[in-house]
């Protein structure tokens, strides 16, 4: 994973934007970090996506308006890294040419990855608080539901505009060629 200067600047700008939005006051479990992390994975590949997720959740763990993440932070990092890596895998298999198909695939991936993220963090909560994992997931299902719905919509409606916006960059031309 070697960045050109322009790529590094883009990576840092996306990281700053993601952390800024993540730390801003917002409704619980409505976030754009997953989308941006996934997008970074699509643009720069699996390692960069994973690194981006790790970086953002590490900073978020300390500065989140909901307080210090504590022991749950490693689980958040793993969950968000998986989202970034999946972005890279999505890139590897080729972003579809059809705009409608991109919307549907991004929405489905958004919902699935959010579910995976929530399961991982709920496992963390269960292990930390010593409650059954299923019970932890069931207790938090209302928050998970909001998280999944919001990310499904966000991935579905915002991923394509992001792609189009970033098509001016060289990296995006490579993706479009696949």
């Amino acid at each position: 994973m070697r960045f050109q200067t322009r790529q590094l600047a883009l990576f840092c700008a996306l990281a700053a934007a993601s952390i800024g939005i993540q730390l801003a006051p917002r409704p619980p479990n409505v976030e754009s970090t997953s989308l941006i992390t996934f997008f970074v994975g699509v643009v720069f590949g699996c390692p960069a996506g994973g690194l981006f997720g790790t970086l953002v959740m590490f900073v978020n763990g300390f500065l989140s308006p909901w307080g210090f993440a504590g022991l749950i932070m490693p689980f958040q990092i793993v969950g968000m890294s998986i989202i970034g890596v999946t972005g890279g895998i999505f890139r590897r298999y080729g972003v579809p040419r059809s705009a409608t198909r991109i919307v549907f695939e991004a929405a489905i991936l958004g919902s699935f990855l959010t579910l995976v993220y929530d399961i991982i963090t709920n496992v963390g909560v269960a292990l930390i608080t010593n409650v059954p994992i299923v019970f932890a997931f069931i207790t938090g299902v209302a928050f998970s539901f909001i998280h999944i719905i919001s990310n499904t919509l966000l991935f579905g409606f915002a991923f394509t505009p992001l792609l189009k916006t970033f098509q001016t960059f060289g990296e995006m031309r490579k993706i479009a060629d696949k």
Binding site: G94, L109, S111, I119, V134, I138, V141, F145, I148
Partner: protein
Amino acid sequence: MQTSKRTLVFTVLALIVWSVTTTAYAGYYYTQYMQLENTLKTMQNLVLRVNILINYANGTKEWHNTTLMPAGATVFNATLAIAKVDYTMWGEYVVIDSINGVQGKGDAGWWWWIWDSSTSQWKSALEACNKHVMVDGETIGWNQNWKSPPS
């Protein structure tokens, strides 16, 4: 990846999300149901269901079945809950003068009776209405005098 295979993969992912979230939501509502059922059982121990008859002697009999009262309620409390009552305190004892504007007859005023389910008969009260703590399922009746049962 072939388009058909890719479509299949995304369909499976969507189905996984749908099945897991709906199952979790079903579990959530089940646990909520169990919690509320336990709360209801606890509350049921704190609530009495009593039946109250008011016989106005002009042929009008007014039943207040399954009246909910807090545990520890007396006949007087239950009567106050279902009717407009005028009463007089005799020391620490309550005497009911009128119920819903209808005056009792005689010095004793309105008299209350208790239904004995073992003999299926009304039994005259042996204590003031504010001294009898009701039990769940109990049936009491008010009559305008102490000489005859309410029904």
